[in-house]
Amino acid sequence: MNTLILRTVAPGLTALMLLFSIFVLLRGHNEPGGGFIGGLIAASALAIYGIAFGVGAVRRAMRFHPMTIAGAGLFMSTISGLVSILFGVPFMTGLWIYPSFLGAEVPLSTVMSFDLGVYLVVLGSIVSIALALEQDSEPEEQAVAPLPSPAELRPEVKKRRDPRRRAKESR
């Protein structure tokens, strides 16, 4: 999908969808939404970006490998459950603090950090699948580095095999 329209729209759309995914994530505590659906929206944002600009652009934009992000999310969720050991309540009990920023009370909780972990797991794993699928169907990448034909490969294979055979004979 290499159209001018998509390439023009994609950055704005991606930014908007990422913002919306965070809105859905935070809204999820009391209303429909949450980490899972938020992560899906964020993943589809990056998928659109990938369709417009190629897989390499998405990987550069994400800085971290998608699986690393998923791992970090899983780790974060685990730690969120473990915090309750410090407060003498069972595993995964929701703990709240109410700090105020500029006069506004902001409730923060381990429930939220757990959900953020879910968001990252979903984002990481879905993006990793989406990028793998997009990579296979991408004609540009093949154009950049065309696969050598079997005829071209053959002499090199022979060359690579040679030293081993020689070593075997000397043994």
Partner: protein, 525 residues
């Protein structure tokens, strides 16, 4: 929220208000440890040098935690922790009784052995592919399945271990592996779907998923509800997972394709998760219906034993052969479940423990034999005794264990099951146990004769791998030797394990302590 604090609400009806003792954290610790480490390994996925050290240290910690849990359960009775402070049956409970904690401990030991072996068996490419993260998540799934007290949660842990097992199965992405994984995945997906349907059915009948809450409800409702259908569904689903007779064909078709350490883990752990769930559901939750279906289970058990033993005799690929030995063991455990008396159940538990250790070790033996001999086929293997007498002795002991001969661990569960079968007059079941053990002895003796005692066949001179195979190092000696010593220990000093298995069976037959641990204040609302 801020407004809720001003309104007085009686929280004691919904929440756990007393702080849980620190020892109760042991029941969630195995799962948390494994998931946390799995996540950590995913984050450092590029630095594969770290993987092995982190994973083995984590698995060693898992053994320690599980041992502490077993110690606490055997001194203080079953341990429960509910997630998120909600009272059961609404909060998801993790409950460990003797059965669950014994299985968890043995699975951790097996996992540690596999971790050590993986240090040698899995190259950098396999590590980058994610062997160790998958191993951690698999252990999380297995531990979670053994320790959960909620039947839907059990389904979730099944999924966790299934998904990580898919990853481990196709490690390397060879065409043969993809084929094996397809069979494995399809059959297991059908099995877990059946399990899910059964759980939904169960919830529709009883309105609860907490196992302690379910105990005893079945006897009250046996007139009104189609409980036999439900039990049959559960048994079919778990039998599929355990590879019992009519649904056993996926195991030999897939377990020989992955790396040998993965086969070892699967053969040791995954089928036993199915047996554990069967024990939990059929013996503890639905005992009356299990009694009605006992003939069907017994027939399936006999056929499983026979198929396993005869299959092992017929195979010449050593990995497939061990797969059939696993199946024969499953038949023995099914026989214990079919009989259903506490003595028989303790025999089944004992067999499960023995089988976890021995089958893993046997797969590792086969892998090591292939490394030394350069082949998976009995036709071309040979002369292993001359190559490494120590390895040959360990293999010999493990084969004795798998065949159920003294002085190894395989003897005691078979004796217990035989006695239980004769006690209820099921002579044909006893005969099948003996017959399958006899055929297994022949099959394993065949391996010993062909691969170890026979001089190396000279037909294929062009197998240079055997000549240049480097000597074994501690990464192979430690897990193989450790597991061998463990089975020998069980065989020579069976008393502690026999007592534990009896206590586990007693806990399944009379789960009063289990219920009290989940509902300390009496019955559920």
């Amino acid at each position: 929220m801020a407004t809720a604090q001003s309104v007085p609400v009686d929280l004691s009806a919904a929440l756990v208000l007393s702080p849980p003792p620190l020892g109760d954290w042991l029941v969630v610790a195995p799962v948390v440890l494994m998931i946390g480490l799995g996540a950590l390994l995913m984050m450092v996925r590029k630095s594969v040098r770290l993987h092995g050290a982190i994973a083995v240290a984590g698995l060693a910690a898992l053994v320690v935690v599980d041992a502490a849990l077993l110690w606490r359960v055997s001194t203080h009775g079953p341990v429960t922790m509910v997630m998120g402070r909600w009272l059961p049956p609404f909060g998801i409970a993790f409950t460990a009784d003797i059965l669950g904690s014994v299985m968890a401990l043995v699975s951790a030991i097996v996992g540690l052995a596999a971790g050590f072996f993986g240090l040698r068996d899995i190259d950098a490419a396999g590590r980058r592919y994610g062997f160790f993260p998958f191993l951690m998540l698999l252990m999380a799934g297995v531990s979670g399945a053994f320790l959960t007290g909620d039947i839907f949660n059990l389904y979730v842990w099944f999924e966790v271990l299934l998904i990580s097992s898919f990853g481990l199965l196709i490690l390397g992405s060879e065409p043969e592996q993809i084929e094996g994984a397809m069979k494995y995945a399809l059959l297991n997906l059908i099995g877990t779907t059946l399990f899910l349907i059964a759980v939904g059915y169960l919830y529709a009948i009883f309105g609860t998923l907490n196992m302690a809450d379910l105990v005893g409800r079945a006897t009250l409702m046996s007139e009104r509800a189609p409980l036999t259908t439900l039990t049959a569904l559960f048994i079919l689903a778990f039998a599929m997972k355990a590879a019992a007779f009519p649904v056993n064909f996926w195991l030999p078709a897939s377990y020989h394709t992955p790396r040998i350490v993965v086969s070892a883990l699967f053969g040791g752990l995954l089928t036993k998760v199915g047996i554990y769930s069967l024990l939990r559901v059929a013996i503890m939750l639905l005992p009356v219906e299990r009694e009605q279906l006992s003939i069907a289970i017994a027939v399936s058990a006999v056929l499983t034993m026979m198929v396993g033993a005869l299959g092992a005799l017929a195979q010449s690929d050593t990995r497939r052969l061990v797969g059939y030995v696993v199946i024969a063991g499953i038949g023995n455990m099914m026989a214990g479940i079919a009989i259903g008396t506490p003595a028989a159940v303790s025999g089944a538990v004992l067999y499960a423990v023995h089988s976890m250790v021995t089958m893993t070790a046997l797969y590792l033996v086969v892998g090591e034999a292939a490394r030394l001999g350069g082949s998976w086929s009995l036709a071309t293997l040979g002369g292993l005794y001359r190559r490494s007498p120590w390895f040959a002795s360990a293999s010999f002991l493990l084969m004795l264990a798998a065949a159920g001969l003294p002085p190894m661990s395989g003897l005691w569960p078979k004796v217990a099951l035989l006695k239980a079968a004769i006690d209820i007059g099921a002579w044909w079941l006893a005969g099948a146990i003996l017959g399958s053990a006899f055929i297994l002895t022949l099959a394993l003796a065949r391996v010993l004769l062909l691969a170890y005692w026979r001089p190396r066949p000279q037909t294929r001179i062009d197998a240079p791998t055997a000549v240049v195979a480097p000597a074994a190092d501690w990464r192979i000696i430690l897990p193989l030797g450790g597991l061998t010593v463990l089975t020998l220990g069980f065989g020579l000093f069976p008393e502690p394990l026999l007592q534990l298995a009896q206590a586990a069976a007693e806990g399944l037959a009379n789960p009063q302590a289990y219920i009290h641990s989940v509902f300390p204040g009496g019955a559920a609302p």
